[in-house]
């Protein structure tokens, strides 16, 4: 007799926001597999309307408590595109350094606090502290440094305050940058220790593959493992798309199982995030990161979504080494205080960055006084929803005989591997007082 499954994970834990997994099977016949996102819409696009071009990045930084720098930078790039603002090389380099700090914050959070408990068989990171205190301390150390790194360049850990269209209101001193560089040099060994630890438990990652399309930024001039500049590239085509045409990439549409919009480009779904960036740009990683990828047998063309966490780890190694070099470049050029001059005009512009969990698009329109008339944003997690659904449809029949608990666990791990960020705006306490 076939298996029966009745899985209803209402409000999956250790992902950002509210997502449900529903799977039903009777006598081995699958009746339903659904990835549902019932999160309430938050109307940020309406919220920025009527505001000045100078305020956009501050407002949209509140969309997310993790990707606030990416949202701010995508917004600023869109504003600068709309108003024809050019930025200096110094601004460009400091923005990169700021953006790298967010990737480190987010990746170390995901690998360390959200995914690691799965590798170690713990329900969350809190009990993991007593199970593997040295591992947790290493993770906390890396995460803490990434936070302090954001504090220095962005003015605070989340919701940056130092960046404005055209430049910075405050830049770090050379001494502060040197100190940061020294801290990063001292922490490189921690990153490699973390890679060794993850390798020792990597057998917990399910061996599942499904070919799909991967989409990320690609920068050819100069060739860079990019999170910031470039065009939109896909593993399904050699022809990259300019950022201004992002809507032709996302092709957002509504589905009845989700309040979030879904996306598709060359096929029924695509994936964004670290594994997409790796699949498109892996040959541009630094040697140390390439070595880390090799340790995990992670190669370009990987189509195991669970390996996204490993791709994040590879990126961590790359980001540390790239940042140490970038600080050298900034210091060699010398830091100066720059005045930002903006000539306001009417216009429409798009901006794009790679948020830690994938490509992120912002677009705004302004009137001649710089007042926002319209806004459109497309977040990475929404671009991944269809791909999660398609993965589940392929995975469940392969593992149906493993029993309900194993199926549930593998599906939860699958969603967590995408590092989804479904909703970021509410977080409140819900408590009762002890008698």
């Amino acid at each position: 007799m076939g298996k029966n499954l009745n899985i209803n994970v209402h409000h999956l834990t250790r992902v950002e926001g509210h997502g449900n997994i529903v799977v039903n099977a009777k006598d081995g016949r699958i009746e339903k597999i659904r990835w549902e996102v019932p999160e309430a819409p938050r109307f940020f696009e309406a919220m920025v309307r009527g505001h000045s071009y100078e305020d956009i990045q501050t407002i949209v930084s509140r969309i997310c408590g993790i990707c606030s720098i990416s949202h701010s930078l995508s917004a600023i790039k869109a504003v600068e595109n709309a108003l024809g603002i050019e930025v200096s090389e110094q601004t460009d380099m400091l923005r990169h350094l700021m953006h790298y700090s967010e990737q480190m914050q987010s990746h170390s959070l995901h690998i360390g606090y959200l995914a690691a408990p799965d590798f170690f068989g713990a329900p969350s990171v809190v009990p993991l502290v007593s199970k593997a205190i040295d591992v947790v301390k290493t993770i906390v150390r890396i995460h803490r440094i990434a936070n302090e790194w954001s504090d220095l360049i962005a003015g605070r850990t989340t919701h940056p305050v130092t960046i404005i269209p055209g430049g910075f209101t405050k830049v770090p001193t050379p001494e502060q940058l040197l100190q940061l560089q020294q801290t990063l040099k001292n922490t490189v060994k921690d990153i490699h220790t973390l890679a060794d630890v993850v390798l020792s438990v990597a057998s917990a990652l399910p061996k599942f593959e499904r070919e799909t399309e991967y989409v990320s930024l690609k920068q050819t001039n100069p060739p860079t493992y990019t999170f910031y500049h470039g065009d939109i590239a896909s593993t399904d085509t050699d022809k990259a798309m300019p950022v201004k045409n992002w809507q032709k990439v996302a092709n957002e549409y509504m589905t009845e199982q989700s309040t979030a919009k879904w996306a598709k480009w060359h096929r029924e779904s695509y994936m964004v995030g670290a594994i997409a960036r790796f699949n498109i740009n892996a040959d541009l990683l630094c040697d140390e990161a390439k070595q880390t990828a090799k340790m995990f047998s992670l190669k370009k063309g990987c189509c195991n979504p669970y390996m996204n966490t490993i791709a994040q780890l590879v990126e961590c190694v790359h980001l540390f080494h790239a940042s140490i070099k970038l600080i050298d470049r900034i210091l060699t050029k010398g830091l100066v205080s720059e005045k930002v001059k903006v000539k306001v005009r009417a216009g429409r512009g798009a901006g794009c960055t790679e948020a830690p969990r994938g490509i992120l698009f912002h677009e705004y329109e302004f009137d001649k006084n710089g007042k926002c008339l319209a806004a459109d944003m497309c977040i990475p997690t929404n671009q991944n929803h269809a791909n999660i659904q398609k993965d589940m449809e392929k995975l469940v029949p392969q593992i149906i005989d493993e029993g309900e608990d194993a199926v549930r666990q593998k599906l939860e791990m699958l969603v967590r591997a995408y590092d989804p960020c479904i909703s970021c705006s509410t977080h409140m306490l819900d408590i009762r007082f002890k008698k």
């Binding site: 834990t13 407002i59 993790i66 959200l114 936070n147 509410t426 009762r432």
Partner: protein, 153 residues
């Protein structure tokens, strides 16, 4: 160098009363000169970043919107040991963090501040919007004066 006393306002100021912690913090900041030994941080929806913000301080005051089963606008002062979470969301994540769990983790890592005081404010409205509800706005002076009493060692 970290200051020994931290006052952290939590919440999202774009979700009306959910951002009450940040609104109160901004009022407290106007008088921050009176407290040179204290650091005031708009921690937003910083979630697990709170672990780093509180580490190895002597005293931490957290101001946050809280469902406490009291009337809207109620201010309650408590220490972590007096409350238990009934939140069924992500055990640890960045925005949907559970601060009581973060405090527990801080203790396990051996870096928990000696004194933590939480001020919870029961919301009236949690919905998109820049302003807090009138009910809470009317009590703002009271909140600021009550919380100020604790900004000392």
């Amino acid at each position: 160098m970290k200051k020994e006393l931290l006052v952290a306002g939590l919440g999202n100021p774009l979700m009306s009363d959910e951002g009450i912690g940040v609104h109160i913090l901004n009022r407290l900041l106007q008088d921050s000169d009176k407290y040179p030994f204290a650091e005031f941080i708009d921690a937003g929806t910083a979630g697990i970043n709170l672990l780093h913000l509180i580490s190895n301080r002597k005293k931490v005051i957290i101001i946050d919107c809280a469902y406490m089963n009291t009337g809207p606008g109620t201010l309650k002062r408590f220490v972590p040991e007096e409350a238990e979470t009934i939140k069924k969301l992500a055990v640890q994540s960045l925005h949907e963090a559970d601060i009581l769990k973060i405090i527990e983790m801080s203790a396990l890592l051996g870096e928990k501040p000696r004194e933590i005081i939480i001020f919870g404010i029961e919301p009236q409205a949690v919905e998109p919007g820049n302003n807090i509800s009138r009910k809470l706005e009317e009590k703002m002076i009271f909140y600021v004066s009550e919380i100020s009493k604790d900004i000392r060692f």
